[in-house]
């Protein structure tokens, strides 16, 4: 096995990565997950430890009629990267709900490539980022629909909330479609907390940081809605939000 060279900035999937930090954990071991035909499984990836760098690369095969529910909470590392490649068989379902919550000079990224390689597969991706300080949060998500994969139903909802003027959000939902009868939706928004809402909550007695936390909690909750361990994920997210506001 030959050593894999460290990616450079020219490499699209690593365009916003902290390459110096990545070098410390390179090469990234590939983690294979197979969901056999007709089965359904779920996985929660929780990266909350304050380490210098973490990089994961999941390669998921969801066979015909199977479903896989993946939730990600990416909050801890100075550089935290989670890459997910999913290949969907006929009628398979893939769900991704991810939240990245960063402050200081954290660089957090989620990079996905979902391949609809047979007809009738469904993919749903919800990614929510909350970024304060000088943090950078990135989502690069490609949905590739192969020739003949009719009846594909894919959705990407990507939103980021900036808590400071010095934080950065990058978002690139991408579609590559080679089939005719498909439904591929993607939405993407970067914004700040609604000032009217914040004042409304404060006028009822909530201190500013509690008001922010309440609004952000609702924002992040969209990523974990329906998860098997929804409460645990939300509690961990809330803890991190408390530090960020």
């Amino acid at each position: 096995m030959t050593a894999v060279a460290l990616p450079t900035r020219k490499d699209e999937a690593f365009r916003y990565a902290d390459l110096e930090a990545l070098a410390g954990v390179w090469p990234v071991a590939r983690e294979d997950i197979l969901v056999p035909s007709g089965q359904s499984t779920s996985l929660s990836l929780i990266e909350t430890d304050p380490v210098a760098a973490v990089a994961r690369h999941l390669v998921i095969e969801v066979e015909a009629g199977a479903s896989f529910d993946l939730r990600i909470l990416n909050t801890g590392a100075a550089f935290g990267r989670i890459a997910v490649d999913a290949r969907l068989g006929e009628g398979a379902t893939f769900t991704l709900g991810a939240a990245q919550l960063g402050g200081d000079s954290q660089t957090l990224e989620i990079v996905t490539e979902v391949a609809h390689e047979a007809p009738g597969a469904v993919s749903r991706q919800v990614v929510r980022s909350v970024l304060g300080g000088q943090a950078t949060g990135t989502y690069l998500g490609k949905v590739a629909v192969a020739r003949g994969s009719n009846g594909t139903d894919s959705e990407q909802s990507v939103r980021a909330m900036l808590l400071s003027r010095t934080a950065t959000a990058n978002a690139k939902p991408e579609l590559e479609i080679y089939a005719d009868d498909v439904k591929c939706a993607h939405g993407c928004a970067v914004g700040e907390l609604d000032a009217n809402g914040l004042f409304y909550l404060q006028s009822r007695g909530l201190p500013p940081e509690e008001a922010k936390k309440l609004m952000l909690q609702a924002f992040v909750a969209e990523a974990f809605s329906g998860a098997a361990d929804e409460e645990k994920l939300l509690a961990l997210a809330l803890e991190r939000l408390g530090e960020l506001v």
Binding site: A195, S203, G205, M215
Partner: protein, 281 residues
């Protein structure tokens, strides 16, 4: 209870309030009427402490009443109240009990007993009324050095106040104001007021967007919650209709950023008949 003296305020550097003075005693309900652009909503926002509304001159002194115990008594205070007590003393004010309202952050104004009813209540997706109001009520209690309401106590209180405004309790489980009609939002404001139990309420066009039945329910709600010897209300309105239900002790006409005329309830009728221009001239 609320004493506004020579208040000047600007919004985006444009002077809106130009020397407004007004004094409201406990037990009184005052109505402020006036043409569009007179500064009515600006007054409400300045009192509430909304960012962007800058006071350039004048003062507002608020004398919060000592909290009256709730029916059934307050729950015993939580053991660790050090922080709460510090804040509590800040809300007790000077020797006469008055606090400089403008020096307090919006959430502390609320804790001191001020309630601002919004002309346009804000929708907050994903946050339920029940969660928001319980946290708000307990934040206020903490700032005053009181113990928190338990989930059960809070729900009992919420159910009672929702009933008062004929609002289905299920609506309070929904996200704050999301999908509510104009009238429902205003009724929900009054439910909030009932739950938070302020000693002084500034109600900014609470009557707008209400049909005849809702207007009566809201009017009766205001009376039930706020018409007490230890409470005060400032009603901001365009129309006389609400005043049929909530009878004011004083009516003021606001024009050009200051009070130009003050009278009794009959002044509202006079305005309705003759218009602002004739009366305020």
């Amino acid at each position: 209870m609320l004493k506004i003296t020579n208040l000047h305020a600007t919004v985006a550097n444009k002077p809106i309030l130009k020397g407004l003075s007004l004094s409201i005693n406990a037990g009184e309900i005052h109505a402020i009427m006036g043409p569009n652009g007179a500064g009515k909503s600006t007054l409400a926002y300045v009192l509430g402490g909304r960012p962007g509304y800058e006071v350039t001159e004048g003062s507002v002194t608020f004398t919060p009443n000592p909290r009256h115990p709730r029916e059934g008594g307050d729950p015993s205070p939580a053991p660790d109240q050090t922080q709460g007590q510090e804040l509590g003393s800040r809300l007790r004010g000077n020797d006469e009990g008055g606090v400089d309202l403008l020096a307090l952050a919006p959430h502390l104004r609320a804790a001191a007993g001020l309630f601002l009813g919004f002309q346009y209540p804000v929708e907050i997706p994903g946050v339920s009324f029940v969660q928001f109001l319980r946290e708000a009520a307990n934040s206020q209690r903490k700032a005053r050095g009181e113990g928190p309401l338990s989930g059960g106590e809070f729900l009992k209180l919420a159910r009672e106040k929702a009933g008062l405004l004929r609002m289905d309790m299920d609506m309070l489980k929904r996200p704050v104001n999301v999908g509510f009609s104009g009238g429902e939002k205003k009724r929900a404001e009054m439910v909030q007021m009932g739950i938070l139990d302020p000693s002084f309420a500034v109600l900014d066009e609470t009557d707008s967007g209400l049909d005849i039945d809702a207007l009566r329910i809201v009017g009766e709600g205001i009376n039930a919650i706020m018409r007490r010897p230890d409470k005060g209300v400032l009603l901001i309105t365009h129309y006389q209709r609400l005043l049929d239900y909530v009878r004011p002790d004083f009516v003021h006409v606001l024009a050009g950023g200051r009070i130009v005329k003050t009278g009794g309830p009959e002044l509202a009728l006079e305005l309705e008949e003759q218009g602002y221009e004739a009366v305020a001239a």
